[in-house]
Structure formats: structure tokens, C-alpha cells
């Protein structure tokens, strides 16, 4: 393998904005000779040190653990101190944009106001809630298996990459976002904790809770610590049912509806799923117009023509024997 250091000219379109003086953000171009061993943070430093001392960004540890230097390059969320320029050049070529995590929350250049991120965190009680015996007679041991149940959720560095890559966060200000859900899972999965139901009631509420997840997997893709937030979101969904805090609403019925449809047909009955989830009258009001158009175009199968899977009895036997949830 060739380990020699190579150099390449790369043009950066850099987001510039000072909320105290600028009415609108603008982009400034910088062309730099980039060496094959540099990371994105080196580029930020060189822009500041060699071109414009007013260029602003957060950075601290330079070791991928403080989470301060999270930004976006060509729309890809990165920890600037971890992301190698050679990988980005291979992916995007020699022209790329450098932007803050969230443009609408920019304070100065790369620096964003993460207040919404911390507010969401706060609401899920991201700390241990437990009655601690101040003079215990023996150690309060947590077994290896019990610790493994946290599924590395305790490795989150709160960098905000998943939160500001989440389309649901971008559109819905109430939505807690993947990082807060990871924190909720981390303490709900802790055997010492006693606030599981409180947290579940928060993350189960419409608009702010896990049910607004669009299942795009952006959070898993972007996480620099490989925490896999959407896996924790699924675990929280499961806890909502196992701890009996599930509300009887469109979101829970939508998930449960799959099990009842599979029991009946093997396949999903699409029309029945919408009816079961919404209720008959809301279904007609919300989906009636589009539904009629679909019916005319042969996109709705009437109940008496619903296709069924072959060997349906086998599927039904498995649904009976393997179901682990109740609603």
C-alpha cells in the first residue's frame, strides 16, 4: 500500500452568518491544497488561521469524544475531528459545502443554538432516578448482562448529529429526536432506575414521542459512535406495550394492526389497516378523497378479493406460538 502523502486542490463553499450583524447567511469560497492525511477540523482551522480569523466553529477534544465539532459537509453530518478529507474527496470530489448542523439555528458560522436539543434531553430525565441507600452494607452490583442491556446507549456524546439529521426534528419542533430517545432508553434499561413509566409517558405522547419517527435510518447512518439510535427507538416502542402505557390511538393501532391483519390473511390488508388505525369515520374524512381516486384506478382491493398467503394455517400457528406482546 502506498502511504505517501498526496495533495489536492479542493474548493469549499463555506456557510457564513453572524446573527448579530447579518440579515441573511451567505457562502464564501475557499480553495485549499488538502493533504491526504488531513481531517475536516484541519480545514476549519486553516480557514480561520490562514484566511479569515472571524470564522467561527466549536472544537475541543480533537479525539471524537466531546462532540463539539459536529457539522455538515455536502449534507453529510460529520464530526470534523474524525472525518478524513481523503474519504470525503473520494465520495464527493474536489468541491464541497461546509455548513452548520442546522442552518435555521445558526448563531455564527458553524456555531448553532442547540437549546432544542437540550430541552428534549431534559424532558426524558437523562439521569438515574433511584432510592440510594447512603450507608449500604454491601456493594450495589450490576451484572455484565444487565450492563449489556444498555446496548451502548451510554456511549452517546450528545454531538447532535442524529438530532440534526432527523427529518422529523427538522419539520416538527415538538419531536424529541433520536438522541433524547437514546438517553430515555439508556436509563429505562438500567436495572437501578425507577422512572421508567415517567419516561415512557413522555416518549409515548403524540407529536413529541417515538411514534413520529419516519424510519429513515438517518440517525443510525450518521452516528459517529455507532450507537444505532433507531434500534433504541424500537426498544422504546416495545416498552410502551410491555409496561402497559400504550394509549389507544392511531399510532399504536397502526403497529398492532399488522399483527391482526397477518393473523387473518398472512398478508397485510391495506384498507383494513387504515380503517383499524384511524377508525371508520376519520378514515373517510382524512383519506376518502384519495381512497376513491385509488379505487377508480384499481388500487384498492375489496375485502372479498383480499389475497391470502398460501399455508395460512402455518402463519396462524406461528402468530399463536410466537406472540410476545399484548394490547
Amino acid at each position: 500500500m502506498d502511504n505517501s502523502i498526496t495533495t489536492q486542490a479542493v474548493t469549499f463553499d463555506v456557510f457564513r452568518f453572524n446573527s448579530e450583524t447579518d440579515y441573511l447567511p451567505y457562502y464564501k469560497k475557499y480553495t485549499l491544497e488538502v493533504t491526504s492525511e488531513e481531517v475536516v477540523l484541519d480545514i476549519l482551522n486553516r480557514i480561520k488561521w490562514e484566511h479569515d480569523g472571524s470564522f467561527s466553529y466549536r472544537r475541543s477534544c480533537r479525539h471524537g469524544i466531546c462532540g463539539a465539532c459536529a457539522i455538515k459537509v455536502n449534507g453529510k453530518g460529520v464530526l470534523a475531528c474524525k472525518e478524513r478529507m481523503s474519504d470525503l474527496i473520494e465520495l464527493f470530489g474536489t468541491s464541497m459545502s461546509i455548513e452548520p448542523l442546522s442552518e435555521k439555528r445558526a448563531i455564527k458560522d458553524m456555531i448553532v443554538d442547540k437549546a432544542d436539543f437540550w430541552d428534549s434531553h431534559e424532558k426524558v430525565k437523562p439521569y438515574l432516578v433511584a432510592q440510594i441507600d447512603e450507608s449500604p452494607e454491601s456493594e450495589n452490583l450490576v451484572s455484565v448482562e444487565e450492563h449489556e442491556a444498555l446496548l451502548e446507549a451510554d456511549l452517546c456524546i450528545q454531538c447532535g448529529l442524529c438530532h440534526y439529521s432527523c427529518p422529523s426534528v427538522e419539520i416538527n419542533d415538538d419531536y424529541f429526536g433520536p438522541a433524547a430517545f437514546v438517553a430515555a432508553y439508556r436509563f429505562n434499561a438500567d436495572v437501578r432506575d425507577s422512572a421508567t413509566v415517567d419516561r415512557l409517558e413522555q416518549i409515548n405522547a403524540p407529536a413529541q414521542g417515538v411514534w413520529d419517527c419516519v424510519k429513515c435510518f438517518e440517525c443510525q447512518e450518521v452516528c459517529p459512535k455507532d450507537i444505532n439510535p433507531i434500534e433504541k427507538i424500537t426498544k422504546l416502542h416495545n416498552m410502551v406495550f410491555s409496561e402497559f402505557v400504550a394509549l389507544d390511538n392511531v399510532a399504536t393501532r397502526h403497529a398492532v394492526g399488522f399483527a391482526s391483519s397477518i393473523r387473518k390473511h398472512g398478508m397485510l390488508d391495506e384498507g383494513e389497516l387504515v380503517r383499524y388505525s384511524e377508525g371508520t369515520i376519520p378514515m373517510i374524512l382524512k383519506h376518502g378523497v384519495v381512497g376513491l381516486k385509488m379505487l377508480k384506478k384499481g388500487k384498492v382491493v375489496p375485502p372479498w378479493k383480499m389475497p391470502k398467503s398460501d399455508k395460512l394455517d402455518e402463519i396462524q400457528a406461528l402468530v399463536r406460538s410466537s406472540s410476545t406482546a399484548e394490547f
Binding site: 449534507g75 465520495l91 464527493f92 427529518p167 422529523s168 419539520i171 416538527n172 419531536y175 403524540p206 407529536a207 411514534w211 413520529d212 419516519v214 424510519k215 429513515c216 435510518f217 438517518e218 443510525q220 447512518e221 444505532n228 424500537t234 416502542h237 416495545n238 406495550f241 390511538n249 399504536t252 397502526h254 403497529a255 398492532v256 399488522f258 399483527a259 391483519s261 397477518i262 398478508m267 397485510l268 391495506e270 384498507g271 388505525s277 384511524e278 382524512k286 384519495v290 381516486k293 385509488m294 384506478k297 384499481g298 388500487k299 382491493v301 389475497p307 398467503s309 398460501d310 402455518e314 402463519i315 400457528a317 406461528l318 402468530v319 406460538s321 410466537s322 406472540s323 410476545t324 394490547f327
Partner: protein
């Protein structure tokens, strides 16, 4: 002489109900390419990334059962829905990497005389034709090049993320921040591929009932992005994205404050058009956003 390509086809539920044109065009394209598809008629719903929110173990057992039927036929499973691909491939990954979990699932499957082995690959039809048939060969068979069209690819989340899972399912390596397979397929069909910001973004389908505003904005943004990039139409490998883009343009337009209606084709319909399939074979009559350019092609 190369053996005939044969796959076990997992149709999913949508192709049998709300996107019949997708099933028709899959068979039409397979027939043109000389690919044999054996339908997994025993398969159940994959749970569409929602069943596991309610009952994760049941979802694993049902998906493992579906895979068993591809294994017993000794075939690679081909999916035609991104979400079927995600759920099935993820089940395979979880079972193949966790002996204890596999044993628990197999205990249930044994009750109906089945065993999950892990011997079948699972790949989306898009990657099957790229990997096993080849873009060059498709290009060489094109009868009516789509050169007059600017075509916007819409990849659909569950074919590109999580990339670690997806890239273990097929030989084409896709980067979710800059996917290329569908662009290359457009070019192979003689079309002009359009670049736009939302091509690798979410359409919102999975939150449509519980978060209708979020879902509508995502669809609206995607379609507006394609329109602003001068696309004549969009193309997608996912029937769920297709449903969202083809039928929900009204809500989407209201959510983003502009009209966003435009024709949206399934990937199979685009390939079929280029290979000379008839509009009837491709099922264009089922679209809500009328496919109004067919006369210009033939």
C-alpha cells in the same frame, strides 16, 4: 452459455393491492431480460417496519419463515419493495450473527416443520439486475432510449440505509450520501439523470397516519426538489415511496404551499419502457398522477 437467472420473488403486500402496476411491470421486465421469477406464494407480510414496534420477536419469526421458503427452493430471494428488503435482510443479519436468537426462532419454526439456515441471499430487484444481469447488457437491449427525458431518481431510505446492512446484501456498493445505482440505471435506459438534494431523503410514508404533516412536508419537498431540478418525471424502486409520491401530491402540495404533481414511475416501468414493453404491460392506467408522455416514447 449462461444459466438462466432465477430468483424467488417476495412480492410484498403492496404489489398485490395498491401498486398492481409494479407487479405487472416486474414480470414484464423479467420476461424481456429472460429472468425467471418464482413467486413465494407462502410468504406473509414483512411487518413493514411497524410490526416489530409492537412485537419484535413475532416479526423475526415471520420474516425468518419467509426466508425459509427461498432457502427450500435453493434460490436468492428478490424483493421489489425497499421496506420488505430492509425487514427481511435485517432479520437475516440478526439471525446470522446471533446463534442464541437463531435457536429461539428455529424452535418456533420447528413447530411447523421449518428451519432457518441462512443459506439464501436477499436482494432488491434493482440490485439483482445490476449485479447479476448487468447495466451494459440492459443498455445494449434498449429499444426506445429515454433520451428526451430528464428523470429524477428517488432512492427510498430502506434500500440505502443502514448502509452496513444494505451493502452486505448486494455487490453494488452504495453510499447513502451519494447513491448512484438508480442514476446509472437511468443512463443505461438512455435517459438524463437529474441531480437534486432530496433524491436520497425520506418520503415520509411510514409516518403518514400518525404524523401526517411531517409526512406531507417530506413528500412535498422531494417533489419540489425534482421539479426545480427540471425533471420531467421521477422514478423509484420502492412501491411505498411510489404510493406517497403518486397519490399524496394533494396533501404534499398543501403542506409546502405549491403544486407538486408530476408523473412517478416504478423502476421496473422505466426499464420496461426502454426495453419496448407496451403501456398495458407496465400498468400505467393505475397511476393517479397521469403518465402523459407515453405517446412520445412509442
Amino acid at each position: 452459455m449462461q444459466d438462466k437467472l432465477t430468483y424467488a420473488l417476495f412480492t410484498g403486500c403492496t404489489a398485490k393491492q395498491s401498486t398492481p402496476e409494479q407487479l405487472k411491470s416486474t414480470y414484464a421486465v423479467a420476461s424481456k431480460l429472460g429472468i425467471e421469477l418464482i413467486e413465494l406464494s407462502e410468504a406473509s407480510c414483512c411487518g413493514a417496519s411497524h410490526l416489530q414496534d409492537y412485537d419484535d420477536f413475532l416479526s423475526l419469526v415471520l420474516n425468518a419463515r419467509n426466508i425459509c421458503y427461498a432457502e427450500s427452493r435453493g434460490l436468492t430471494m428478490v424483493t421489489i419493495c425497499n421496506t420488505c428488503q430492509l425487514n427481511t435482510a435485517m432479520t437475516k443479519q440478526r439471525l446470522d450473527s446471533d446463534e442464541k436468537l437463531k435457536a429461539r426462532v428455529n424452535e418456533k419454526l420447528a413447530e411447523v416443520g421449518l428451519e432457518y439456515k441462512g443459506s439464501s441471499q436477499i436482494t432488491h430487484f434493482l440490485y439483482a439486475i445490476i449485479d447479476d444481469f448487468g447495466l451494459d447488457k440492459i443498455a445494449s437491449m434498449v429499444k426506445t432510449p429515454l433520451s428526451q427525458f430528464n428523470i429524477a431518481p428517488f432512492y427510498g431510505c430502506h434500500n440505502i440505509r443502514p448502509s452496513e446492512l444494505q451493502n452486505s446484501s448486494h455487490r453494488t456498493k452504495e453510499n447513502p450520501y451519494k447513491p448512484t445505482s438508480l442514476d446509472e440505471l437511468i443512463v443505461a435506459c438512455g435517459g438524463v439523470n437529474v441531480d437534486y438534494e432530496q433524491k436520497n431523503k425520506c418520503c415520509g410514508f411510514h409516518a403518514e397516519l400518525q404524523a401526517p404533516h411531517t409526512a406531507a412536508v417530506l413528500t412535498g419537498n422531494a417533489m419540489a426538489g425534482a421539479i426545480d431540478a427540471n425533471a420531467d418525471w421521477m422514478v423509484t424502486p420502492c412501491p411505498l415511496c411510489h404510493l406517497k409520491l403518486d397519490t399524496q401530491y394533494g396533501h404534499a402540495g398543501e403542506a409546502v404551499g405549491r403544486e407538486v404533481k408530476m408523473p412517478v414511475l416504478h423502476m421496473q416501468q422505466m426499464v420496461g419502457l426502454a426495453l419496448g414493453c407496451t403501456p398495458q404491460e407496465l400498468g400505467f392506467e393505475h397511476h393517479l398522477s397521469e403518465v402523459d408522455f407515453i405517446d412520445a416514447v412509442n
